[in-house]
Symmetry: C2
Subunit: 370 residues, 2 copies
């Protein structure tokens, strides 16, 4: 069935035989077991034999007896995200770097692709293939499985799923709603009143609704509504952002500013704007979200909210490593704030800055499209 690879397969018995000792001694020496009183001479002989034979312990055998695999998995939604967006890749880099530094391998596991109805990552846990799990932006359907794992004490760190209410899940989130308020307020404070919003995905994701809420919050602070025709939804990619923006323009919209749910769709939206003969920021001001590496090099450089996925992934992984080591920090949840990075996609203030809720309607707004 499974063809045995031809790679050398050296066992500890062979090392023992060559060194003239028992397998136990080999194990003691190789694992540096203290207080076993191994003579320096035997030690050297064993080490030499192991080196000479190129001995590497069999991982399966080792984990069968130890119960640990020195492997973790990073669970994400579609692998599609890897193709079109820069968020998950940076997250993966952080998880990888941190986990590797602690001697863990990392399995990359997108779950929706499996076609399961949720909990597609459970089998990895139950079959004991991994010692811990980091779940990134998993859809709501998996919340219940995440909760089960956590309640069983399995090392798990959840990122971006807003499971704050759960008292046994370790989680890290950014305050997306507040971040969206900040982003939208930035446009409002510049004098814009007709601000459009472009969601980056369907509302199956926690992040999408959170950002929409934040946008609405800020609009309300300025006594502004969020009209349907100024709200659009894309689907992760720049292409979808471009399509969504074209649709909004076709709907005969009137807006002078755009808050895009992420930078990638902001790129797409800006391209659509350009194609329609609209200039950024002169005609339309744009704020993105994420601060992907290319945001600073867009034309014009994109003003955006700086989520720091690499750093956040490092933090999540550090926590996971501690959980796998048996620690149980008292702090369950951490909520991070993200800064606004002002570049040039919003231009200069349209009118003198108008404080929220005291401005007289859209008086300070630009004339815009309509």
């Amino acid at each position: 069935m499974s063809p045995k690879p031809a790679a050398t397969r050296v066992t500890s018995s062979q090392v023992a035989k060559l060194a003239g000792v028992s397998r136990t001694t080999v194990s003691f020496v190789l694992n540096d077991v203290p207080h076993m009183g191994i003579s320096e001479e035997t030690r050297e002989r064993v080490l030499g034999a192991a080196r000479q034979l190129g001995y590497v312990p069999n991982a399966a055998a080792r984990s069968l007896v130890s119960g640990a695999t020195r492997t973790v998995a990073i669970v994400t939604p579609h692998s599609e995200h890897l193709k079109v967006d820069a968020f998950i890749p940076r997250m993966l880099a952080g998880v990888n770097d941190t986990c590797h530094a602690h001697g863990y391998k990392v399995i990359f596991e997108p779950i929706i692709d499996t076609g399961r109805t949720g909990g597609g990552f459970i089998e990895m846990v139950d079959s004991r293939r991994v010692d811990g799990l980091i779940a990134i932006n998993t859809p709501r359907i998996d919340d219940v499985h995440l909760a089960r794992l956590a309640s069983e004490g399995f090392p798990l760190v959840v990122f971006g799923s807003q499971l704050i209410e759960h008292t046994n899940i370790y989680s890290i989130d950014v305050d997306m709603r507040e971040a969206s308020r900040v982003a939208t307020r930035h446009l409002l404070s510049l004098g814009h009143r007709k601000v459009a919003y472009l969601g980056f995905a369907s509302d199956e994701y926690h992040g999408v609704t959170e950002r929409l809420y934040g946008y609405r919050d800020a609009m309300r602070e300025y006594d502004l509504g969020s009209e349907f025709e100024r709200i659009g939804f894309a689907d992760f990619s720049a292409q979808s952002g471009c399509d969504a923006m074209e649709a909004m323009l076709d709907r005969g919209p009137s807006f002078t500013a755009l808050f895009a749910g992420n930078d990638t769709i902001a790129f797409g939206a800006m391209a659509a704007l350009r194609k329609a003969g609209l200039r950024v920021p002169d005609d339309i001001a744009v704020v993105g979200y994420d601060d992907i590496p290319l945001a600073a090099f867009a034309a014009p450089p994109l003003t955006t909210m700086r989520t720091s996925p690499y750093e956040q992934a490092c933090e999540a992984s550090d926590l996971l490593v501690r959980l796998m080591a048996g620690e149980r920090p008292v702090e369950l949840h951490s909520m991070m704030a993200v800064p606004l990075v002002v570049r040039q996609s919003c231009g200069s203030p349209v009118a003198s800055t108008i404080p929220p809720s005291t401005a007289a309607g859209g008086s300070g707004a630009k004339s815009g499209l309509a």
Copy 2:
């Protein structure tokens, strides 16, 4: 040492006991062993017991006896690439999708980060943690280890390392030299004579030198030299592309066109150009390489060479799966051609198209900077 996770740990013995049969029977039923004549009734009882207990076979035990792990690793250089560029992420998506479709988990393993002097991935093989390996753009120092694995018959597919001369290594490459010729020729055919080249990394990578050679080939076809001051080197990121371009501009260069080693640094270079008051394509024409998802949404949309990392990764993974199944296709190497995607970053022809080697020097070239 290693704290046993509290997750349920059901063994086949427990299933056997609940079903009132032996462990062997459980194994036969669960693995669908044919010609064993298991009665339909027992079968149902076993399946029911397994489901009731939530039984999942222990992966370590299974792989210890079977010799297989149902896991592959994708070996890449720095994890840094995940942070700043879009090539490796798309590659990973392809490997992931294909391998998952065949029931394999995938370990993401950047090797240079380990600080080893090469062969950092060998231990995964020797410890039998993986059944196969895909090596992407590994540096030259690892060639020897790759060759060793291949000669031992270990399932291995190498991508982008140009190891064509090896008669036992399965490899997939794109003809980067030819691609670079095509890219450079495109600029030359548009009438440009002063064409600059920006490498995307140090020449530790096969791809960097290949692309430089291709650029020189094309220049030579037009009887043009490749002056040192028109050659720059970046380091993967858009930021480095921006820095490198600024340095080239500082050196008081004279060029009317740029061939950038990848799209990411092209973004950076274009930003530097813009900052210097130069317009693309009016003052400088730009061709990139890779066709990353954002290339089409750059301002102006970037003309580039379309490498298709996702598709290439799928092909490499398909091959790996076949190797792991024991197949040994006769075709060892495959070399792919990549198409030029013309968008708007090169504008229109500068003069009427001039055939190679017959043009009178730089007569058709634009005046440019100097």
